[in-house]
């Protein structure tokens, strides 16, 4: 029998912050708007929102100030200073930086990732509730946007695969093989499964479906990486904190992470963050990941699937029973 210790809410929140920051340092560096700030106004195509009030990219020094403030707030957020105020400010600055980065016409899929720091500073069970809700909206929105894929007259996933292969020169592990071997009807099946799966993810809110949805999500992402080379592994910034928060049972559990371990974890994360800042200051580089994995999802989604399976084996009822209300949470 696998035994996983119950996490105190403060433990889970601390680990969530460390995981979030650790993944940013190791694999998914924050996107810098500095490189686009020098572009002329004719390249400025902001998305809907406050950025439409601007006529061009702001001066590079404004970007530098925003990015330094973001790193400073990340450090405070990791330490648990300021709680929701720091979380809200940090998420706000992340959204501003991301909005500028994506003001060249590209669409971003990052909103939920940027909101995460704020949501993790909410009290009680709101972090897992709000993260789950955002995740369901994310998938449902993606499914609704692809509603035309349900037409049997065209195979959108095949068209994407052809575009990636011939147009972009992508080399996903199964892309060339699938284009050589798979008949059109299997791509139609992939279209249907994709849309219906994404539309079904909100069912995770119902306990009866929760475990099946959680088991399916890493497999879905893995299939997408293998077949099309589309890697959504940045969503681990949401998935891992959510899994940790699901481990908060029961409410009266005492903290299991010794203070010395907490101090080591925080110090490591802060050192990593300092390294990220130093990269930009000393070498003038845009943030780079410390682990140079070309397609992290190929490694991370199987690991995530393993984590979900182990978690479900260790706590078969954790997802099907209602968690007791937590004690008042206080950040370390």
């Amino acid at each position: 029998m696998i035994r996983i210790p119950s996490l105190h809410r403060d433990d889970a929140l601390l680990l969530s912050r460390c995981v979030y920051l650790g993944l940013i340092v190791l694999l998914f560096p924050l996107k810098s708007a500095y490189s686009v700030a020098s572009l002329s106004a004719e390249h400025f195509h902001p998305p809907l929102g406050p950025f439409t009030l601007l006529e061009a990219f702001p001066a590079p020094w404004v970007i530098i100030v925003i990015e330094f403030a973001t790193y400073a707030l990340l450090a405070l957020w990791l330490l648990g200073v300021g709680q929701w105020r720091v979380g809200a400010l940090l998420s706000g600055l992340l959204i501003v930086a991301s909005g500028l980065t994506y003001s060249t016409g590209k669409i971003d899929h990052d909103c939920i990732i940027l909101l995460c720091p704020f949501l993790l500073t909410l009290r009680g069970r709101w972090p897992e509730t709000s993260l789950t809700f955002c995740l369901t909206v994310y998938f449902a929105s993606s499914g609704l946007a692809k509603i035309s894929w349900l037409s049997f007259d065209s195979q959108a996933s095949l068209s994407w695969a052809l575009t990636y292969f011939y147009g972009y020169g992508k080399s996903a592990p199964l892309l060339a093989w699938s284009l050589e071997q798979l008949p059109g009807w299997s791509w139609e099946l992939f279209d249907q499964l994709t849309v219906w799966f994404e539309l079904c993810v909100p069912l995770v809110i119902l306990r009866a479906f929760r475990r099946w949805i959680l088991l399916s999500i890493p497999l879905f992402h893995l299939a997408t990486v293998l077949l099309l080379g589309i890697d959504f592994s940045r969503l681990l910034l949401i998935y891992l904190p959510l899994i940790l928060l699901f481990c908060v049972l029961p409410a009266h559990t005492s903290q299991v992470i010794p203070s010395r371990v907490r101090a080591i974890l925080i110090t490591c994360c802060l050192l990593g963050l300092a390294l990220c800042v130093a990269q930009g200051c000393l070498f003038g580089k845009s943030p780079q990941s410390l682990l140079p994995l070309e397609t992290p999802g190929l490694l991370l989604f199987p690991i995530l699937e393993g984590i979900v399976i182990v978690g479900l084996l260790a706590r078969p009822k954790v997802l099907s029973t209602k968690a007791p209300d937590p004690c008042e949470s206080s950040l370390p």
């Binding site: 809907l48 060249t104 195979q155 068209s159 147009g167 284009l179 909100p202």
Partner: protein, 137 residues
């Protein structure tokens, strides 16, 4: 759960109607292709002028900034393909290249558009037929 669907629907409606720089094409863009019966077109472009290279990080930028005006003028660029179904391949998603060049977002100077033509039967794998210029640049 219903709230999730409602918010997702609202998000899609707002985004696809008034949102991004691709006013009416945002939704179909997710299909990412241009299909006519069992033929799929994969548009791409060739550089025709020697223009200095952009830094590597601007690869995506090139793809998007050219894409915006391309999408706005789609009807002029590809008159054979009318209606949203044929706009499912967005030109903006065809201009990625390993050797990006800067281009004026107002026109397509230095760029020659074309498309791979692929036969895609339901009972067999797709087959590259050749190239056909469906983009009127």
């Amino acid at each position: 759960m219903l709230g999730s669907y409602a918010l997702a629907a609202a998000h899609c409606i707002v985004t696809f109607s008034v949102g991004e720089p691709y006013p009416s094409l945002q939704g179909p863009m997710f299909a990412g292709h241009l299909q006519q019966d069992r033929t799929i077109y994969v548009p791409f472009y060739r550089e025709t002028k020697n223009i200095p290279s952009l830094p590597a990080h601007d690869r995506l930028l090139r793809h998007e900034t050219l894409g915006v005006p391309a999408q706005k003028d789609f009807a002029k660029l590809a008159p054979r393909f009318k209606g949203a179904a044929y706009q499912e391949f967005l030109i903006g998603h065809s201009v990625r290249t390993r050797n990006p060049r800067p281009g004026s977002p107002g026109d397509f100077s230095g760029v020659e558009w074309s498309a791979y033509k692929i036969h895609a039967p339901l009972d067999g794998p797709p087959e590259l037929i050749g190239e056909e210029d469906v983009i009127h640049d």
